[in-house]
């Protein structure tokens, strides 16, 4: 989806300029903002198709921008975080950011994430989701791996469904727990870790070297198509 309009928000002018030049070279249309306020104003004026957002801004946090943006826009947001910002990073993801990269990051990684985020479309009404060799029939609540049926417990199935519907997107522990177990959940990460490890045994060719269900340390999980990476 080259030509997409990207809003880049960072208070370091030099970073902003480097990103602007590079992303423009990659075929994107780039707008920039240095503060939370100007970012929200720019987004309202010309809604971007994706946002690259620094977590620490002079007049607020990236999390606040995400929260505000999410009230009217579903454009993917990639957060730029630094080591030491872990809590803020998870807060931004919980608030609705789609992904994060850790500073300093090369343009290759950033473009790859941006492409993945833009490719991700809102889940269709299709009853069968196919990711690599995984075939998930949402109506019959059945899973086939490599064509062979695999039995899942109800929680395992719901976990896989939530991840598969958000293929490629990083989901935080809190988001997954609330989607699968209900709104009363959010901090029971252990529960989630156990189910993820059980699920891996059923979907991964080698559960110790997962290719589908990836761990994002300190943040959450994402389900990817190994061939698409």
């Amino acid at each position: 989806m080259s030509g997409a309009r990207i809003l880049v928000v960072d208070d370091e002018r030099q970073i902003l300029r480097a990103l602007q030049t590079s992303l423009r070279g990659a075929g994107y249309e780039v707008e920039t903002a240095e503060t939370a306020e100007t970012a929200l104003a720019a987004a309202a004026m010309r809604p971007p198709e994706a946002v690259i957002l620094d977590l620490v801004l002079p007049d607020g946090t990236g999390t606040e921008v995400v929260r505000e943006l999410r009230t009217w826009s579903s454009a993917p947001v990639i957060v730029l975080s630094a080591v030491g910002d872990e809590h803020e990073k998870v807060a931004a993801l919980d608030a609705g950011a789609d992904d994060y990269v850790t500073k300093p990051v090369g343009i290759d990684e950033l473009i790859a994430r941006l492409r993945a985020a833009l490719r991700r479309v809102t889940p269709s009404g299709e009853p069968v989701l196919t990711i690599g060799e995984l075939e998930l029939d949402l109506e019959k609540r059945e899973l086939r791996v490599d064509g062979k049926p695999v039995h899942l417990t109800p929680h395992q199935f719901d976990l896989l469904r939530v991840l598969a519907r958000n293929e490629g997107k990083l989901l935080t522990h809190r988001t997954i727990l609330q989607e699968v177990w209900g709104p009363g959940y959010g901090s029971e990460s252990n529960l989630l870790h156990v189910h993820v490890s059980q699920l891996r045994r059923k979907i991964e060719p080698d559960p110790t070297r997962p290719r589908y269900l990836l761990t994002e340390p300190g943040a959450g999980y994402r389900l990817v198509d190994p061939a698409g990476r």
Partner: protein, 444 residues
């Protein structure tokens, strides 16, 4: 001492006289020999208030008075009936025994009070060392020794006196030293010392624990400060790195449509940010040198515009936005050129950072009788009055937030002061900030 002694004798005499008067009133109704027991009313207060020796004196005085006034022949100390001698003897023995019992219970009460007071004062959370001397002074009379000293620590103090360990959980935490005990006073010490020693042991140990807790807290706080500093510094290092990495990786890709201008700009960013990184590292070293007091200036006479020119050179390309308003004549200052250039670089970098990109930063030079003023005027958001001093502290930035270490202004002030110069911020709301550097003027 003698006046209280006199008062004691008078009080004793008054007690004896009062009881004698009472017996006079009662002797027509009660056999007079039986009334002699009333003198215990005089003996007991003496025993409780002044101790055994005085009680014995009062007993003897009572016996003689009773004999003189009531036993025939009255008004003499001799006795008609020799069996009365026996009665007086029984009285004397009784009163002495009662006195001894009373005096002992008084001592015990005093000891209990002393222990209670010591316990109370030890339980109050205070500095123990002052308390220990006071407690030692209070305990000396009760222990019936000339001098008591309390020594903290597990070393055995050198002393000629009796040394008793203060133990807690089997560990020696201190020693109580008793010097020159009075004769026949061992019983008092046997009674009092174990309780006193365990009280002191607990108090000393508790103070040690409190101190250790404080040390741990201090350590934790300095750890938190270090974490904050590391975070701030890593932001300052990572921002230029991010710009370099982004630019370099963009240049390395063959699939990006970058024209010559784009490529030139990316290369310029890499160079500029590498220089900025170098300045950040230089600032960190400068700050540690300043804080260690190792920044000895080597002052020489310099034209101030030369220093400004050098500083602009060190700033590189971003310095292009700085407009210098040169005066007609050269202004000379006496400073360490390297250090004052550092001050100027940091002040200019700060002004450029906070100014909108389209606005220039101005440098104005002026002379006062003994100072050369360098004014650096920006068009940024300005500095709120409550932040005007704080921003010169390391790891502080106006408005708070976690945006980097903000070492530049701290270094500027550090080097300025080392060179007998001053630096301060002036600001009017909405009109940007002016940083003024006042350098010592030199005659050319």
């Amino acid at each position: 001492m003698s006046s209280s002694r006199t008062a004691g004798v008078l009080a004793g005499a008054a007690l004896v006289a009062a009881v004698t008067g009472l017996i006079f009133l009662l002797r027509d109704h009660v056999p007079v020999l039986g009334l002699s027991v009333l003198y215990l009313l005089a003996v007991l207060p003496a025993a409780v208030l002044w101790g055994l020796a005085d009680a014995v004196l009062v007993s003897v005085a009572s016996m003689l008075t009773f004999n003189f006034f009531f036993l025939p022949p009255v008004h003499t100390l001799s006795l008609e009936d020799s069996s009365n001698w026996l009665a007086l003897g029984v009285f004397l023995v009784t009163s002495i025994v009662v006195s001894e019992l009373a005096a002992r219970s008084r001592r015990r009460a005093n000891e209990s009070t002393l222990l209670a007071e010591i316990a109370a004062s030890l339980l109050e959370q205070r500095d123990l060392s002052g308390d220990l001397d006071r407690i030692a002074a209070e305990a000396a009379p009760a222990l019936q020794v000339e001098r008591v000293s309390i020594v903290v620590g597990d070393d055995l103090p050198r002393s000629a006196g009796e040394r008793h360990p203060l133990l807690t959980g089997g560990r020696r935490v201190g020693t109580i030293v008793l010097e020159q005990p009075r004769r026949g006073s061992a019983a008092a010490r046997r009674r009092l010392l174990p309780a006193l020693a365990s009280l002191l042991g607990v108090a000393i140990d508790r103070e040690r624990l409190a101190r250790e807790a404080l040390d741990a807290e201090t350590l934790r706080r300095s750890d938190a400060a270090k974490t904050a500093i590391l975070r701030a510094v890593s932001h300052d290092l990572r921002s230029p790195l991010m710009a370099i990495l982004t630019s370099a990786s963009a240049l390395a890709r063959t699939d990006l449509a970058l024209d010559q201008d784009d490529q030139r700009e990316l290369v310029a960013t890499i160079r500029g940010e590498a220089e900025r990184l170098d300045r950040v590292i230089g600032n960190l070293l400068d700050l540690s040198r300043l804080q260690a007091g190792a920044a000895q200036p080597e002052p020489e006479v310099w034209p101030v515009d030369e220093l400004v020119t050098q500083a602009l050179g060190r700033l590189g390309q971003p310095g292009g936005r700085v407009k210098v308003e040169l005066p007609d004549e050269a202004l000379a200052v006496r400073v360490d050129a390297q250090q004052i250039e550092s001050v100027l670089v940091n002040l200019l970098e700060n002004a450029l950072k906070y100014s909108p990109e389209a606005e220039p930063v101005r440098v104005q030079l002026a002379l006062t009788p003994d100072r050369v003023l360098v004014r650096i005027v920006d068009h940024g958001p300005g500095v709120a009055s409550q932040d005007r001093e704080r921003i010169f502290e390391p790891f502080q930035r106006a408005g708070g937030g976690a945006r980097g270490a903000g070492l530049g202004l701290a270094i500027a002030r550090g080097f300025a002061e080392a060179n007998d110069a001053t630096v301060w911020a002036e600001s009017r709301p909405g009109q940007g900030a002016t940083f003024v550097l006042a350098l010592p003027a030199a005659r050319v």
